[in-house]
Symmetry: C2
Subunit: 168 residues, 2 copies
């Protein structure tokens, strides 16, 4: 994970892929979203989806998993320590997500490729050691069709504390 | 689940509670959000949270689970069949959710009470047998503190097809 100062706006990061198997879809849905089109392949055929589809929160949770894996695999030499000795930037809690859209169904066997694009950086007078990074996040199926998107926000640690410009 | 026509705006429905045990928090996070403050009680003490906390998507997924249970337990006699013989209204896919906010941490042992309040009903010329229901959804901990909220949308089946008003 990069320090806030080093994040470039407009950059897209590929987060990797996940294949939603029937077993995977059913296991998540039995616990959190037990509707027949998520849990029962036969009943799903009779639903408006015409077959088993992944639960919306499942599609979102896999984004989180791939996002973390991608961050962890980033080369450490891209994040030199801060002048005050802090070794590496840490992510903080999210101030909230916007506009979650499940655009097309994710069917059993679909492989979803996720990516994230940096949208906006917000300096915070109230938190000099953190900034808010807004990102646009997308998932595409193996046909290249957009199936999921949302705007995410995260608090990212700064290498050096923010100093608001002096006012006249 | 009620027919679209029978849903009253401004009504709040209690969805029940869920206690987030350590085991529950760790099991979800190991699969979808393996950060130390979600998966390792000792390491979590050293984090900015000061202890184990539930993953954001976990808090959201439990809302879905309780929402479904509440719908299923609604008395059937409140949803008389449609004139054309359809027995009971079905929910459809969501056109999207807005403004997800994780306001306070959910700690191991916290019991969260969820509720949903109907906000808006949208008639659809494009889908005469469904309408969009917008709702405001909240989770409160055992101290009555709001910890999570979002605006949800769902397609809900109508008892009778929508007929747009004639234009002059």
């Amino acid at each position: 994970m990069a320090w806030f100062e080093d994040i470039k706006l407009g950059e897209t990061l590929e987060l990797g892929t996940h294949t939603f198997t029937s077993e995977d879809i059913i296991r998540f849905a039995e616990k959190y979203d037990p509707q027949p089109f998520h849990t029962d392949p036969e009943a799903a055929k009779e639903s408006h989806f015409g077959g088993l589809v992944a639960a919306g929160w499942h599609i979102a949770a896999v984004w989180m998993k791939l996002m973390l894996e991608t961050r962890r695999n980033q080369p450490q030499d891209e994040t030199p320590p801060a002048p005050d000795g802090r070794a590496a930037p840490r992510g903080g809690p999210s101030p909230g997500f916007f506009d979650l859209k499940w655009i097309k169904p994710v069917r059993a066997g679909d492989t979803i490729a996720y990516r994230t694009t940096t949208l906006e950086k917000v300096d915070l007078k109230s938190r000099p050691y953190q900034g808010i990074l807004k990102s646009f996040n997308e998932g595409f199926n193996q046909d290249g069709t957009l199936i999921f998107s949302f705007i995410g926000q995260g608090l990212v640690e700064r290498r050096e504390p923010y100093r608001a410009p002096a006012t006249e």
